[in-house]
């Protein structure tokens, strides 16, 4: 595990990173993430947080997606 690798939920707002690997149990969610571009090497940036709670919006492959911290805890990224 390299120094700069963190889980996505720890990515600060505005920070850029590259996807390293995904460790999600649910096959459905995993496939869904793959289709949205969550593959090794894709750049992802945290944009903004929601009004209440821990859901954050990320920019990946030109799309803005909202994800919960329970899921982003299991996505590993390398800070750029």
């Amino acid at each position: 595990m390299n120094d700069k690798e963190i889980t996505l939920d720890k990515l600060k707002i505005g920070e850029l990173s590259k996807i390293s690997h995904i460790d999600i149990d649910s096959k459905k969610m995993y496939n869904r993430l793959l289709d949205l571009g969550f593959v090794k090497g894709s750049t992802i940036r945290a944009l903004f947080k929601c009004a209440i709670g821990n859901t954050v919006a990320y920019l990946i492959k030109g799309t803005v997606v909202g994800l919960r911290s329970t899921d982003t805890k299991r996505i590993y990224v390398d800070i750029v």
Binding site: S26, L34, R68
Partner: protein, 635 residues
């Protein structure tokens, strides 16, 4: 039951045979349904958020004397995995029924869309790419080399802007040429090779690498001007300080405009209808129609019909277009995004907010919309709680009672206060939805909370005039037809119940006297209970039935103004408690027949449908009891 959500446009022709079949596939929210509408002339409901189309729509169009059947498949990100709709889309393409598959892609988001494009190409050769939203490209200074793209993919590419009705003619022409074999297509080896890799993760990596390569070759510049603006807006709309208050403000504004505008339109309509009724009366007397028949037609059928049209239609005709505009802008996914944490705590997810929003328009539509929720248990919870949101058929009843209760000297203050009260009522419904969802997820539908992904599409300038015209036409027409189909017979039935007497007492009176004891415990009376029972067919008829019962269906001159309504109600013993309990019951009672049928169809479970009827009714009864008891002790 007369105008189900499927047949919104009852005026389209249906064909028994057709010459070709085409299907439309694409990512969610690329304007696929808009393209479908433009091609077929059907009016599928479109909106700026993912997951709007939830079932295959079928339409037809004619081109060069050939009939083409078009199938609009639900939006899907890939052909790979196991959501019901996406398996369906995949199977549809694989079974080769279509003579031509049209992939609709978002030109402003080509790289991500290429994922699906490549997957479809790996399965079928009969493909055309339709690059939609081409007008947004020009705005963003993005240039796409269409010829290069066509070369890279090996298929024809057509640019369209469904919103502006551009490129459709060319699309139809290309489709025909394609089906006739006049267009050269070829298989691209490098694309084929991507799919040789069988490991899912590696294959996805390969696909995106290929997408990236194609994208770099074909798309020349990249400007992010709109993106930064969208981001600024989003940061405000989702901020901790302003996010939720702005949401409430939007809803408040929606309500206020509806109430204010509806006031005037109702007045004009009722004056008009009164005038017509006088003419009808003269006409009927002229042809010497029996006085009972005249009464049946005018006091029974005509009055109920026109009451529903004059009082129920204006709020709906205003609310719906405004709501469509908000939908068009793309604000709804932000609501789901903001509220997701709240829903997560209740064991469901933010997409339920979207189904609740649809429930404002029509609970049956809200129930169908639950298909966007991925897990069955969350879907069931959403279906069971959807009815807590008052639909367009019930909002006017609430507005009517609130208008009577709130009377200050200024119209603006009145309407503003009414709007605020309506907002409070809706907030209470939302709160109850949260609570009940939580209880359901702790008891019947126990499980770990699931994953959640929501796409936040870019904001779009709404086509205001077009939205208004279309929504009014579509909505106003369907309400009109529904009024005729439901209100008229209901009026007829009530008239009969009032005028058919056994031992000097009308049938209706037997009924209402029977329900009086139950009604009184709930702070209401037998008439109201009877009205709700009859209102099972359609919620709009509840107040008209109450009025007709109280007045024994006699002709009234100022039938549909709020002051007349108030005097009739007070003359029949309505107090503040009655008004409050009535409003409670309006919100918390069984879904209307259309919605119940929809729940049965969507869930396939009789038990669920049964619970969906009992649950809100039980809550309503308990709350009414509570209010009644409290008021008895206070007064």
């Amino acid at each position: 039951m007369f105008l189900s959500y499927k047949n919104k446009n009852v005026l389209h022709k249906s064909y028994d045979t057709y010459d070709y079949e085409i299907s439309l596939i694409g990512n969610p929210n690329v304007g696929k349904s808009s393209i479908f509408n433009c091609l077929t002339g059907l009016k599928q409901h479109t909106g700026n958020w993912s997951g709007k189309t939830v079932e295959n729509a079928i339409g037809y169009y004619e081109y060069n004397n050939k009939v083409v059947k078009a199938v609009d498949l639900p939006g899907t990100y890939s052909l790979r995995y196991d959501s019901k709709e996406e398996i369906e889309a995949c199977e549809y393409i694989k079974n080769g029924k279509s003579d031509c598959i049209i992939i609709v892609a978002d030109a402003t988001n080509l790289e991500r869309n290429l994922n699906l494009i490549l997957q479809v190409l790996s399965i079928s050769k009969k493909v055309i790419l339709c690059l939609n939203m081409i007008d947004e490209i020009k705005k963003n200074n993005i240039a796409i080399d269409i010829d290069e793209l066509s070369l890279q993919l090996g298929i024809p590419v057509v640019c369209t802007s469904a919103r502006n009705n551009e490129g459709l003619r060319q699309l139809r022409a290309v489709i025909e040429k394609f089906i006739n074999g006049e267009i050269q297509i070829y298989e691209v080896d490098s694309i084929k090779r991507v799919f040789h890799e069988k490991d899912v993760e590696k294959q996805a990596e390969n696909i995106f690498k290929k997408c990236s390569d194609i994208y770099k070759l074909c798309v020349k510049t990249e400007a992010e001007t709109n993106f930064t603006r969208n981001l600024k807006i989003d940061k405000i709309l989702t901020s901790k300080k302003f996010g939720i208050p702005i949401m409430c403000l939007f809803l408040l504004l929606l309500f206020w405009i509806t109430i204010f505008g509806a006031n005037y339109i109702s007045e004009w309509l009722s004056v008009g209808f009164k005038y017509i009724s006088k003419i009808l009366l003269e006409l009927f007397s002229l042809i010497n129609l029996n006085e009972y028949v005249i009464s049946f037609l005018i006091d029974g059928v005509y009055n109920t019909l026109t009451w529903v049209i004059a009082v129920m239609l204006p709020p709906m005709a205003i609310f719906f277009p405004l709501f469509s505009i908000m939908e068009d802008i793309g604000y709804l996914p932000r609501i789901a995004f903001n509220l997701d944490s709240g829903f997560q705590k209740c064991g469901t997810n933010g997409k339920q907010a979207l189904t609740m929003a649809m429930g404002f328009g029509c609970n049956a539509c809200g129930v169908v919309g639950c298909r966007i929720i991925n897990t069955e248990r969350e879907r069931n919870i959403a279906m069971l709680t959807n009815n807590f949101i008052p639909c367009n058929g019930r909002l006017p009843s609430l507005i009517a009672i609130l208008t009577i209760l709130i009377s200050t000297s200024s119209i603006i203050l009145n309407t503003a206060l009414t709007a605020v009260s309506l907002l409070l009522i809706v907030l209470i419904s939302v709160l109850v939805t949260f609570i009940v969802s939580k209880v359901l997820s702790l008891t019947i539908y126990k499980s770990k909370s699931s994953s959640f992904v929501i796409e936040l599409p870019p904001y779009r300038k709404p086509k205001i005039l077009r939205s208004i015209v279309y929504a009014m036409k579509d909505r106003a027409l369907s309400i009109l037809l529904r009024a005729i189909a439901v209100a008229a017979p209901t009026g007829a039935i009530i008239w009969l119940l009032v005028n058919i007497k056994v031992s000097g007492i009308s049938l209706l009176q037997y009924c209402t006297t029977f329900f009086d004891p139950i009604g009184n415990i709930l702070g209401l009376d037998g008439v109201i209970i009877t009205a709700f029972l009859l209102g099972f067919t359609a919620n709009e008829t509840v107040i008209p039935v109450i009025l007709m019962s109280y007045t024994s269906a006699l002709t009234l001159t100022e039938y549909s103004s709020y002051t007349a309504l108030e005097s009739i109600l007070t003359q029949n013993g309505w107090t503040l408690t009655t008004a409050i309990c009535f409003m409670i019951l309006v919100i918390f009672h069984y879904p209307c027949s259309t919605t119940c049928l929809t729940i049965k169809k969507e869930s396939g479970s009789n038990l669920l449908t049964f619970v969906s009827m009992i649950l809100p009714t039980a809550i309503g009864i308990c709350l009414c009891l509570l209010v009644n008891i409290i008021s008895t002790y206070i007064v």
